[in-house]
């Protein structure tokens, strides 16, 4: 209470200091570092680039600036001996608490001003997909907490050591550890949290949840240390040890510190965000479990209820088994870590079930025994928060249950069968999902989503069907555009926030153009085999995938940033053409560049995609346009790159820093895939006798028989089909 009364005076005094003012101004402008220099979030959604990166960079700068301010304030007060006056009136530890609170208040004020000042800037850059709540959550979680951590570490170090130099070293060590050894451990990089992407079109709830959890652990840890270090503040002219013993006499503070440290350890060790999947990715023990020969699964009815406020899910599955052995059989299920089994009933009788601790590829093994009856109806009910795979903890946020977005896969929806196959004749899965009324479900398969009921609590129950146990479900604020094309009906589902961008690039026209052109020239992709396809935009998943009846593109393809990428086409519509052509070259036909590494040659899905986009542009806008915006552009890019000093003299590359080197190497690799390869393809087109002949070859390649072991289209396959040798395509 007393400290509260002293706070305003201390706060005003602090604000009047020039050092404080300098730190505040520098912190205010520091987010600019995230736009130009320090860009830890690599995914190029608009909010990653203009909200997450500035906030994280601001956090790093603020950690250092406010840490230094804390140390210098403590040091200055001791050095100038103002403390002789204040200590005679207020006990030094109380005064220290007041000073620290004033610093926290200053940081809070700075954070508020920074977040507010950057709001119009972010909003202007991000455009129509800007989200206020993401902006403020980023500044609070990514930046604000880091300021506080800087101050806690700085003050603790100073209270213990009494030395400004030592405290600065401790502060810098914290930042150095965060940026090096701890950089790829999501629970340890406490200043610059690991964020894969901030979504523009969907929700970032799960990302913020992870960061908040990590920050909470650190807040508890640093808070505990801070209280302990506060006991070391020298009083009555005593030494460090004597002061500590005097301070610790009242047990409240040490007890509070120990409680905080205990909670920190608990939240660190028992974090609910990621699982304990085996770190050895070569171990596939669940795939090696032999199937039972005399048991078949004939059907599955799943009913799931996501709790969009708590991020959890509860579900009940009814599996129907045909047991021809005449004996009891032990079945193995794959459960998502984080889920608990509430009930397991076989033909109405409770059965014993054992959930194994071992986890592999985000799956945990459940073991239970069904009776000898020929037909068994097994009811499994389960609930929990779906944990993500710890081996890809840097990608947290892909699995999500929130009010604005849901993405659930396989065992997240219904426990997977590990040692039972489904009856290929009769197996049917029916899923029912209860969603908030504002959400549109998209099941990633052929079956359509039907509305079953509108419930009194404002939710809606949806049903969708399929013929596999596994399924993928997206739900969110989706806009659905139905486009009739020569290949069939395309239902394009994209995030409502993206409507303005999609309208601008005339999405419907683009879809129709690409679908018609590619179907005519290359054939129908597997995903449209039934004359119907769902084209789904999802939250960032780093790529896309296709299945019969559905094809996925993540939002990175549609960001204003990407739509301005000149290597993919002139203007948003043409980039969109490029991304849609990937339905043929990339998804319809796979290239080994899915596991792309920078050192490999120019052959990739991009070459044929860029080439096909050029052909479409030529058809749409004429030869002159295509020559200028595609062929000439490829040549210019190649030429200017070849003029680059380091490309002509690669022996000097070693003299550059690793970042500069990798940017040059990356640039070269992009250039070879996006500019060199299209030129080679153009040459091939010429050599095989023109566009028509070349299109025929591509048609053959697209529709060739696939080897399931190695489904990739290689450069050699392509050259063979053209009857050419590699050197035939050398560019002069």
């Amino acid at each position: 209470m007393r400290s509260l009364r002293l706070l305003p005076g201390e706060f005003m005094r602090l604000l009047r200091g020039r050092l404080t003012q300098a730190v505040m101004v520098l912190t205010l402008v520091s987010p600019i570092l995230g736009i130009f220099f320090y860009k830890p979030v690599l995914t190029q959604t608009m909010q990653s680039v203009y909200v997450a990166n500035p906030a994280i960079a601001g956090g790093l700068a603020g950690y250092l600036l406010f840490g230094l301010l804390t140390i210098l304030e403590c040091g200055r007060i001791a050095k100038t001996r103002v403390n002789l006056l204040t200590d005679s009136l207020i006990p030094p530890e109380l005064m220290a608490a007041v000073r620290f609170s004033a610093l926290v208040l200053t940081a809070l004020l700075t954070l508020t001003v920074t977040a507010t000042a950057w709001l119009p800037i972010s909003r202007c850059f991000v455009g129509s997909v800007f989200a206020f709540e993401d902006h403020f959550a980023s500044y609070l979680l990514f930046m604000g907490t880091s300021l506080l951590f800087g101050m806690l570490i700085a003050a603790s170090a100073y209270y213990v050591s009494g030395s400004t130099e030592l405290s600065v070293i401790v502060l810098l060590c914290g930042a150095a550890l965060n940026l090096t050894a701890w950089a790829d451990k999501w629970q340890l990089c406490f200043i610059t949290p690991m964020v894969d992407a901030l979504s523009d079109d969907f929700s970032n709830h799960r990302v913020f949840l992870s960061v908040a959890w990590m920050k909470l652990s650190w807040l508890l840890l640093l808070g505990g240390i801070f209280i302990l270090s506060g006991l070391c503040i020298r009083k009555y002219g005593k030494t460090l040890a004597a002061s500590f013993l005097l301070g610790a006499k009242k047990l409240v503070k040490p007890a509070a510190a120990l409680l905080l440290l205990g909670c920190a350890a608990f939240t660190y060790l028992r974090q609910p965000m990621t699982d304990n999947s085996n770190a050895d990715l070569d171990v596939l023990s669940f795939c090696e479990i032999p199937y039972l020969e005399d048991v078949l699964c004939t059907g599955l009815d799943a009913k799931i209820v996501p709790d969009v406020d708590r991020g959890t899910l509860s579900g009940e599955c009814v599996y129907r088994f045909l047991n021809l052995s005449g004996e009891e059989r032990t079945l193995l299920f794959g459960i998502t870590p984080g889920y608990r089994i509430r009930k397991a009933l076989a033909n109405g009788t409770e059965v014993l079930h054992v959930l194994d601790d071992y986890q592999e590829f985000n799956v945990q093994k459940l073991e239970l025994t069904i009776p000898a009856d020929e037909e068994t109806q097994l009811v499994l009910s389960y609930a929990g928060f779906p944990k993500e795979n710890r081996n890809i903890s840097d990608l947290q946020g892909e699995r999500e249950i929130s009010r604005r977005y849901i993405c659930l896969e396989n065992a997240n929806i219904a426990p997977d069968l590990l040692n039972v196959t489904t009856d290929p004749e009769s197996f049917a899965r029916v899923c029912e999902v209860v969603l908030p009324a504002s959400m549109t479900p998209v099941s990633f398969e052929e079956g359509r989503e039907e509305l079953v009921s509108e419930n009194p609590d404002g939710t809606k129950t949806w049903r969708y069907e399929g013929d596999t146990v596994n399924s993928i479900l997206y739900a969110g604020d989706y806009v659905k555009e139905e486009v009739e094309t020569d290949a069939g009906t395309v239902n394009f589902y994209y995030g409502a926030k993206h409507k303005a961008v999609m309208d601008e690039i005339k999405l419907r026209d683009v879809v129709k153009t690409v679908m018609d052109y590619c179907t005519e020239h290359y054939g129908t992709p597997q995903s449209i085999s039934e004359g119907y396809v769902k084209l789904v935009e999802s939250r960032i998943v780093h790529g896309g995938y296709a299945t019969p009846g559905a094809s996925l593109m993540d939002e990175a393809d549609f960001t204003a940033f990407n739509l301005k990428d000149p290597s993919k086409g002139a203007g948003g519509s043409e980039v969109m053409i490029h991304e849609l052509v990937h339905q043929w070259w990339g998804l319809g036909i796979m290239f080994s560049d899915m596991f792309f590494d920078e050192t490999q040659g120019p052959w990739s899905s991009e070459g044929l995609t860029v080439y096909s986009s050029y052909r479409i542009a030529k058809e749409l806008y004429g030869e002159e346009y295509a020559q200028k915006n595609y062929i000439d552009l490829w040549k210019d890019n190649l030429e200017s790159y070849q003029k680059n000093f380091y490309i002509r003299n690669p022996e000097y590359l070693d003299r550059l820093s690793e970042d500069e080197r990798s940017s040059i190497v990356c640039g070269l690799s992009d250039l070879r895939r996006y500019d060199e390869m299209p030129l080679k393809l153009l040459k091939a087109e010429e050599l095989v006798g023109g566009e028509e002949a070349f299109d025929e070859i591509l048609y053959e390649l697209f529709n060739r028989e696939l080897d399931p072991e190695n489904p990739f289209l290689t450069y050699a396959d392509f050259l063979d089909a053209c009857g050419l040798r590699e050197e035939d395509l050398d560019l002069e």
Binding site: L6, G9, T80, P91, G237
Partner: protein
Amino acid sequence: MQIELKDLSLTYPNGKKALKHANLKLNAPGMIGLLGPNGAGKSTLMKLLVASLLPSEGSILLDGKPLREKERELKQKLGYLPQDFGLFDELSVAQFLDYMAALKQIPDPKNAVREVIGLVNLEEKSKAKIRTLSGGQRQRVGIAQALLGTPELLIFDEPTVGLDPEERIRFRNLFSRTAGDRLVLLSTHIIEDVQSVCDHLIVIDHGMIFFSGTPSELIRSAVGHVGSFIEKNGNSADSKGLQVTSRINTGDGIRCRVVADRLPADARPEEPSLEDAYLYLISQGTLEKTTELPDDSSLKCRKAGPDAEKEEER
């Protein structure tokens, strides 16, 4: 208010014994002068009184209760001017005093600040940043903050350091005026500061209290130990091991005024002044010390200059 020191000792963590078995009683109202050479233990005693230090042995009683129990009460009644204190340079005089008034929880800070600024004669500088002030002006700010809120107990450690002679006289008068019904403790190594204003004197040296009483009692203790003689060749005071308090050129030669336990035969007895009495007391103390502890390093420190005390205590 009554402060009582009972067998009070303080040994610093570095082993230096700064105060040894001090016993004292201080009663309000009163204006008490704490006299002693540099490094005598004055500042240590004051820091113990304001609870900035804890005694190694013995205790301090505030109105009969141990100080540790009444620490908060003491701090609410206290105005303290330490030696070598610092100020917040970025604040103006008025802002700094406002800040201190907040720490002191003074109910009407505006008026209180205006009042003390007037008392120390800093009206013209009240809006000036502290970094622009002279040494004397800074000292006045220090005095002003101690006076804020009319505290019952005022403790000034060498308050006149850095002030010019005119200001010194002004402040001496200010201290005696502010004393009123309060308890004022003023430490100094300059006799003039306490001569006219203090009704009680304490003399301290080597961490021990040698005297506690009225100024006239101190003077009386030196009667018969002050004399003077004309210095001639081979008859210098130094060669006789006497403590010289002044040398005056006269027609007959240089007249030396000396204090000594036993005056030389040729010395003319003189009426002791307060300074004579103080020097006599100190010389006696030093003599005892020298015979008692010939190797005590504090003796060397005493001659090391005005900063000696600070260095010893850090």
